[in-house]
Symmetry: C2
Subunit: 338 residues, 2 copies
DNA sequence: TTTAGCACTCAGTTTATCAGAGTGCTAAAA
DNA sequence: TTTTAGCACTCTGATAAACTGAGTGCTAAA
């Protein structure tokens, strides 16, 4: 679809105004704010064209126009020029991240800051270390009949599992067992390593009662993999009615859906903008979502972050924000892993 | 305040009906549901008395009556007979908790189940181990220049901190340092132990760059101390208007306030019911909150759990639920620690 | 002490009216 | 050919008036 420069400018202005106010935009107010000098009548002609092209619609005869879903898409993909993020915002972002003592805390902070700066809900999916390799494992004896197994991956991630050991096993025997295991297990993935340890413990007849078994076999918590921050911001948009909000909050609590979705995004690189029905999330059918992947410089470890908000979000700023934040968090991740 | 048996029954029925429907209760419909046979006119007399006593109010002349805040209190404290929890609910509760592989997961599950079974939001504050003592500490060398410090408390809690070590330090020297430290540090609280370890590392001239410093000094994450589950249930109550919901969700995200509040509850034993203005939380001024402490049999380790919902909540069931859940989670905690 | 009867009150709904914003169309102006 | 002024038209949202019905309080009888 091709638009004359003037049509484009009108569409741009309508989206901008509607984004700010949430109200339909009429030809008269548009004539006042448009940089070019045009009468309301001429603007109406342009608007009629844009409506015929499916980019605008009027809620009713005597209201102004609002962008259609397509209109938003056209705007977000072609019309909006994404600039540098405002320096003040950059500063705030970096400052907030710097305060976080752990990467988890940083993710939390990022999700909230994304939300704060975009007036949307902020999302951060933890990076996945598919290729994380076991670097070291160790048993720490805690008592005559129990010990702690610590698995350390080369990305710095840890896993602790409490296990039962027979009191007859001496400290040095336990240490020897660990040394043996280490030789076998080093360089394997965490999952493989876990299997091995369990097998070895069985073989060596170290008792594993059912409780310990449960500990050992538990997969990593998936619930902490996704941080949702500032979801209350969505209350600020009257067009998001109660039931919409409710279903969004359900998705935010029962994180599985969102995790799956963001995980798929993780496959493809760079910024993605989902508008309306494109959004692969039932509850966000009339919302918009901006996502980006972040990761280490070598792109071997990747996560996803983004914002989710009303369709009339400030695309210019939000896109810049998500983009910048992704690069920033990538750098932080790099630092942590080195 | 004393009530005749009849007045009490009328109040009880009004609260019950209002709790179910959210609508004012009139004398006619009351006459139909009340077990005793009374004409609407007589009931009106009783209602007038109850209104004079400040237990009921009418939103306007031609509406039925609704309980006042005091009315709810009177009901919840004196009139409601809290029975055993329904067997089906008990079963569901136990089943859900049993699935949880870790105590954190159990807390999460409990918060959601509380919410689910009460149609409110569920809260679980993690137990605090003020008197947790260090049982063991260990260094695990991860590379020439870094190691992992693992602190194990006698309650099974762990803390891991990454530290930098000079490459010149041999493995056996590191182990000797750990042995030395263990002698000093065993039996201290985690906080004290952390101090000691840092001091010792400094003294032994183990390099601590600023990042490592930050790791070491970071207090435990407080954000994971509180689990809020099923907060979307609150959308189901029309009387909780948008702004109310918004401020509640703000409290749920920025957990500090709630943590502080529940922490104070932790001081006193048993079930507590906060109704309306009693609720020490600004955002919950016209809500109700039921809390209970849970803990090990010796009551040395205690946490708090509860539900928060509209004032017209089902007190009978919710009180029984919170009570039962607290005892159940206490048992789970006991098992984990033993 | 309880209840039937009745007048009264008031929220909520419906209907009518009106002002205002915005449009589309046509014809004149640039 | 493009732009603009003018005008009739449409539709929402606000305001007011009328109506309905649920529920009450009071009085007098059972």
């Amino acid at each position: 679809m091709e638009l004359t420069e003037r049509s484009a400018q009108v569409l741009r202005e309508i989206v901008d105004m509607y984004t700010r106010t949430g109200q339909p935009v009429g030809s008269k107010s548009l004539a006042e704010t448009l940089p070019m000098s045009l009468s309301p009548a001429s603007i109406r002609n342009v608007m009629a064209e844009l409506e015929a092209q499916g980019l605008l619609m009027s809620p009713h005869t005597s209201a102004g126009r609002i962008p259609t879903e397509q209109g938003f898409r056209f705007y977000a993909r072609g019309l909006v020029e994404v600039g540098e993020l405002n320096g003040r915002l950059k500063a705030e972002l970096e400052q907030r991240i710097a305060r976080a003592p752990t990467f988890d805390a940083a993710m939390q902070e990022v999700s909230r800051t994304l939300a704060h700066l975009s007036s949307c809900a902020g999302l951060v999916l933890a990076p996945r270390y598919d290729d994380a390799r076991l670097q070291q494992m160790e048993f720490i004896r805690l008592g005559p009949d129990k010990a702690l197994a610590v698995l350390v991956a080369d990305n710095g991630k840890l896993e602790n599992r409490m296990i039962a050991v027979p009191p007859s096993l001496s400290d040095s025997e336990l240490r020897a067992a660990a040394d043996d295991l280490n030789r076998v297990v080093r360089g394997k993935t965490l999952a493989e390593a876990r299997e091995h340890v369990v097998a070895a413990l069985r073989q060596q007849k170290l008792a594993l009662d059912s409780l310990m078994d449960k500990f050992l076999m538990a997969p990593d918590a998936t619930d902490t993999a996704l941080m949702v921050g500032g979801s209350q911001n969505l209350f600020g948009y009257p067009e998001l009615v109660r039931e919409r909000l409710q279903s969004l909050f359900e998705v935010f609590e029962e994180k599985r859906l969102l995790i799956g979705l963001l995980d798929r995004v993780r496959q493809s690189d760079g910024i993605q903008v989902f508008i309306g029905a494109e959004c692969p999330l039932e509850a966000a059918r009339d919302c918009a979502m901006i996502t980006a992947t972040y990761g280490t410089a070598d792109k071997k470890v990747v996560g996803t972050l983004g914002v989710i908000g009303p369709m009339r979000m400030n695309y210019r700023q939000s896109i810049a924000l998500v983009d910048y934040t992704a690069r920033l968090l990538g750098r932080v991740l790099d630092e942590r892993l080195s």
